[in-house]
Subunit: 328 residues, 2 copies
């Protein structure tokens, strides 16, 4: 099977059909119709084997993750996803692997109405880049820097599950409870981008970003983008029962603070509108938990039961850290 046949077979019909795709995979470029009155939203994220997922991970999970991390960026802007391109570098054209990968990516694409409109397949070490395109009514995108002093900081869902899931996947953690292990592993392997919540937060949240590198790495970026400081009550971080069962309090907290890969959203919201936003989250079967607030300072204070606390974790940094996203 040659490269072109391979691309045709697996990717030509992947994802959703959309009426706004004039020309998809198969020409030099795709032709797309962006709705009038919207801003185009564009992001790119790359996954490298052994870095963003364990070597030998399930191909379907890799395909899901490659799109999910990009959908999460779109969610963080309050935008609607529409189209994606895929740059796939892989060591060999293994039909079984490609089937699984295409299923993982394709199912998530269909679930969010995303059409795959272009791709490039090359031979080399396993590396996957997805570029996602979406749109948002002009002027209504959520930005990192829109927060104000006094705004509540809140996160969707629960934090730390994916960190524990990665530890399970790599054998660094073993759990006796099979249901908890399955839940945590699922959270790592099949992260859920909070696209509907991002759209629901338009016009209410003042700032948003996704937590892809861990709260300790990401929250300071949101504060700094607004020229603000922040205070976080670490005991308020939402943690699942499965996470609490997976380690002692310190270990669970460490995952919730520092492990990336949860792909929950961090938002800033004026205190008088927090209830409204939490109600919208609830309609989406999602919790929204206040964890602190933005202030006029220039640093982030992490507080644990009223005392200042220095997290023994830092954000995910590809060039400083060896092979795992977890430091405890």
């Amino acid at each position: 099977m040659d490269e072109f046949e391979l691309i045709r077979r697996y990717f030509a019909r992947m994802g959703a059909d959309r009426a706004d795709v004039d020309l998809g995979v198969g020409d030099d470029a795709a032709l797309l119709r962006v709705p009038e009155g919207t801003d185009l939203v564009a992001a790119v994220d790359t996954l490298v084997e052994g870095r963003h997922f364990p070597a030998g991970a399930d191909a379907r999970s890799i395909g899901h993750r490659a799109l999910a991390v990009n959908l999460s960026d779109i969610a963080a802007m309050g935008a609607a996803p529409a189209w994606a391109t895929l740059a796939l570098t892989l060591p060999e054209a293994d039909p079984g692997w490609l089937d699984g990968f295409a299923r993982g990516l394709g199912e998530l694409a269909c679930a969010h109405g995303v059409a795959l409109v272009g791709g490039d397949t090359t031979a080399g070490p396993l590396t996957i880049s997805v570029q996602i395109l979406g749109h948002v009514p002009r002027g209504s995108a959520l930005r990192r820097g829109g927060g104000r002093a006094g705004d509540v900081l809140a996160v969707t869902g629960t934090l730390g599950d994916a960190g524990a899931g990665l530890a399970l996947a790599t054998g660094a953690l073993e759990l006796k409870d099979p249901a908890a292990a399955r839940d945590l592993l699922e959270r790592f392997e099949y992260p859920t981008p909070r696209v509907e919540f991002g759209i629901a937060a338009r016009g209410i949240a003042s700032a948003a970003m996704d937590i892809s590198d861990g709260l300790v790495g990401d929250l300071p970026k949101l504060a700094a983008a607004g020229g603000l400081g922040a205070a976080v009550d670490v005991e308020r971080l939402p943690m699942s029962g499965a996470l609490r069962a997976a380690g002692d309090a310190q270990q669970a907290r460490s995952w919730a603070l520092g492990a990336g890969d949860d792909y929950e959203l961090l938002v800033a919201v004026p205190p008088e509108r927090f209830g409204e936003l939490a109600a919208r989250a609830e309609q989406l079967n999602l919790t929204l938990t206040a964890i602190g607030e933005l202030n006029r300072g220039n640093a982030v204070k992490w507080m644990l039961h009223g005392a200042e606390f220095t997290p023994a974790v830092h954000g995910f940094d590809h060039f400083r850290r060896a092979s795992t996203q977890i430091t405890v």
Copy 2:
């Protein structure tokens, strides 16, 4: 230097400033304004070290090439390039390498008015994906499948130079003439995307594609996209003096037919409008050479001095060919 500092330093201000970028590098995604009445054009291309360029190639050349191959896709649609995102996987954060890479990519971006609006830098084997976005007045894009029987097939510039340049770069070829060697190497290392010609060909050419995988690999795709056959007179392929000096006639022909990387455009144009298109090319200091025509057949006939000819080359296929794009 951590990942974020690295991205900020080298890529935050790379490329052109554009008034239609509401938000560039630094948030979860970019916000861009697509002109009304246009189609968005999107493409992606990946370069892998040792596959698309020799290991140890000059970083500035790699940066140039990464954008040039994408600009060439935009050119093949007759579109105007506007924005790009960069997914860069590299083994280490070497400031010298990054400087060169950023210069090569940045200079070409500025020359074409392209803003770099997003990036993701990860650690791993050297792999570069650029996603390019542009726009074209609605309905005026050049497609592969628009040709008709009787249309002239023509190519811009000269073919085969980059193939010989790659042979020089890898030591497979040595030349006594330093000026010819420099010209050929330059053609491989710094390909020139034919963006202005693509725009000039709107409304005249009936079909277009770029020659990135070699004429023997690419021309049949253009014919097949239109449900047509083609006949090509191989002796009409435009070859530079430097290429003719680099090998015997058979070798030069082999490069012109089969080596990729020239990034010239292949167009189909109704015969009565060929002169008009050639005149537009001339205004851009570019030659346009008729090499054959589309017909009602279902295959491509390669003719050499009136006799059918079987090229001993095939298109670039990452999974079938080992380490070089040249087969002679």
